[in-house]
């Protein structure tokens, strides 16, 4: 994997240091980019990782892939590994809006450019990153709010089935949603927000309780991802086998969500392509390494999928 640096490197430590130094100043042809990803085995992250690595190969960039396994603390320490390896660039998948800032600052001190993939960080991180590519979980929350508002005609009371408490994606998707409702002055009340950890069974269980508690008061549902939306649908079917469920809005654009939209079980989902997410990040990093200027925000398209366009859009995974 390390290629020619590897061959030279085994001789003496001095030479390694020299090569590494040269590599970082642009002499060696193969550039190495450190990719701190969210996880290795995950429905969205895996295809994104694969796309990123495949594109890197085309570009002749070596990828040093480090998986946080959804553990922020691990990720903050992995940034140090990247800096110590004197890589040519860092692509970080943040799982927390701010914990990585000191690590990114150290990368900057070492003259290693860094960009964010998939999720944004707080504004304090801006000075330390060249760009943020990919979807924006906060934006997704806003789109979900708009979609549900539309379904409800701007009036109603909804429940939010949120992901893991304290998780960056959860925070973004929930605050984006609630902020947008406030922004648009929609007459939509949030009855309750419950955490179901992006888990279908947990969503099923809390949905049973929510349906018992609020019953017909629930005029709409916002789930932080399609998996949990599925949990609500199943709970509703148990409780009211013959009654149509209120409009349910999910995120992710999973195959089974598309199926649910076709059969009117779900109102909408939001598709973001993991492949585009991964490719955009490495393309951007390649441009940075080549010395080009890049925009500080490079979004990938987010498509709200409803019954109108469900047959013309590809599911994300």
């Amino acid at each position: 994997m390390i290629g020619r640096k590897d061959m030279i490197g085994r001789k003496t430590m001095l030479q390694i240091a020299a090569v590494a130094l040269l590599a970082s100043t642009g002499w060696a042809s193969a550039k190495t980019v450190c990719y701190v990803t969210a996880a290795d085995s995950h429905a969205y992250a895996t295809p994104a990782n694969k796309a990123l690595e495949a594109r890197a190969k085309e570009l002749g960039i070596e990828i040093l892939s480090l998986s946080q396994d959804f553990d922020v603390q691990k990720g903050t320490e992995q940034l140090n590994t990247c800096v110590a390896r004197k890589v040519d660039g860092i692509i970080l998948w943040p799982l927390d809006p701010q914990a990585y800032i000191p690590g990114l600052a150290r990368a900057q001190q070492a003259n290693i450019p860094a960009i964010l993939i998939n999720s944004p960080m707080s504004d304090d991180a801006k000075p330390f990153i060249k760009s943020f590519t990919g979807p924006d979980v906060y934006e997704e929350g806003k789109l979900a709010a708009d979609s549900l508002s539309k379904a409800l005609g701007g009036k109603g009371s909804v429940v939010i089935i949120a992901g893991q408490a304290g998780n960056g994606t959860t925070i973004g998707r929930v605050t984006g949603f609630t902020d947008r409702l406030k922004e648009t002055n929609a007459d939509i009340k949030v009855l309750d927000t419950v955490n179901a950890d992006f888990d279908q069974q947990k969503a099923l269980v809390v949905s049973r309780d929510l349906i018992t508690r609020f019953g017909d008061q629930i005029s709409g549902v916002y789930a932080n991802d399609d998996t949990m939306a599925r949990g609500f649908i199943d709970a509703w079917k148990e409780a009211n086998p013959s009654k149509a469920a209120p409009p349910i809005v999910g995120i992710n654009g999973q195959k089974d969500a598309f199926e649910s939209i076709r059969t009117n079980e779900m109102y909408s989902t939001i598709v973001q392509s993991p492949v585009e997410d991964g490719r955009l990040a490495i393309n951007t990093m390649a441009e940075i390494i080549d010395g080009k200027e890049v925009k500080d925000r490079l979004p990938i398209p987010l498509t709200v999928v409803t019954k109108d366009n469900v047959n013309s859009v590809e599911p994300a995974f």
């Binding site: 590494a20 600052a105 408490a165």
Partner: protein
């Protein structure tokens, strides 16, 4: 058999040596000071908590709440920065760990309950508090420059965190092997009833074991929060398992009465260098899991195969022997 027992005695050294050799073969430049320093820094967080857990395990107890205390202490130390300044806030954070440990200790000693179940419960409680206080949102500190200073590497190897870990573990080694209270911990862990009869205040030792473990988890949490300038309720959720694995790889037994500080050092370093080596090769996280799980199982099996000849194979941890019912037929 003789070879095996020799291998078993020095297994931590052997496994650490093997890890380093294999790593050096596959990772170019592994033995550079900066890489070793990196491994050490990565190991420091686990290591600090492992110091406390080593004492507890030797005393025949266990603490599952370390990861939650880690998060809680960090959060408190960050939240209070604005009110009382960075250093006092850090001290309060560490004290939060101490108090958490005291709660664990008081409940285990006072109620005479199994520490596995009890610290499972307090783990839930401390973690819930962390979510409660922060409303499940990460909180940020006031001084990012301090974070950068804390992560600085000295002499090419040591960060403040890793130096602190090394110093503390050497101190622990001296305390466990050279002082009477230190040796009493072993006595309490291997046979609490006998320890009591010979006049050792085993309850007090157990209590302070928990206080010590809580304090160190607090210290590790505060350092983590200072280095990242962030306190988060999700920090440390994966830590407890890693810490237990590191301590056990180091030869300390969950049954109590056996273990050493230097063994823990070896175990922590093994886990640290293994992680760095595998990450340098972009080994997927799940393969890393399988490897560390195999090493853990292999080492304890080797340990058992060599040293259990005389002992009943179903020995239970000493932490339960305070209970009169299990004491029923043994004497």
């Amino acid at each position: 058999m003789r070879f095996l027992s020799l291998a078993s005695q020095h297994r931590v050294v052997i496994i650490l040596g093997l890890t380093l050799i294999i790593s050096a073969l596959v990772v170019p430049g592994y033995f550079s000071a900066s890489t070793l320093g990196l491994g050490l820094d990565r190991a420091a967080t686990i290591g600090l908590i492992a110091i406390g857990l080593t004492v507890l395990l030797i005393a025949g107890q266990i603490d599952l709440s370390g990861g939650a205390v880690f998060a809680l202490a960090g959060i408190i130390s960050v939240i209070l920065q604005r009110e009382i300044g960075i250093l006092p806030a850090a001290i309060v954070g560490i004290l939060v760990g101490t108090v958490a440990g005291a709660i664990n200790g008081a409940l285990v000693v006072g109620l005479k309950v199994n520490s596995l179940v009890l610290t499972l419960a307090t783990m839930l409680i401390f973690r819930s508090l962390a979510h409660w206080i922060t409303n499940s949102q990460p909180v940020s500190g006031t001084d990012i420059m301090l974070s950068l200073a804390l992560a600085k590497t000295y002499l090419d190897i040591f960060t403040i965190r890793s130096a602190l870990f090394i110093v503390l573990i050497v101190l622990l080694h001296v305390w466990l092997t050279r002082t009477i209270p230190g040796r009493n911990v072993f006595a309490v862990g291997s046979n609490p009833a006998a320890a009591k009869e010979s006049g050792i205040a085993s309850d007090r030792i157990v209590f302070f074991g928990f206080v010590f473990a809580g304090t160190l988890a607090g210290l590790a949490g505060v350092l983590q929060s200072l280095v990242t300038n962030t306190g988060s309720p999700v920090f440390g959720s994966e830590l407890t398992v890693a810490v237990i694995a590191a301590v056990v790889v180091g030869g300390t037994r969950l049954e109590g009465g056996r273990g050493s500080a230097l063994g823990t050092l070896g175990g922590v370093l093994t886990i640290g260098s293994l992680t760095i080596a595998m990450e340098f090769q972009s080994v997927p996280a799940y393969v890393q899991q399988v490897v560390s799980g195999l090493i853990l199982i292999l080492l304890v099996v080797l340990d058992r195969a060599v040293t259990t000849k005389g002992r009943a194979s179903g020995t239970r941890p000493a932490l339960i022997s305070d209970n009169p019912i299990t004491q029923g037929g043994t004497t």
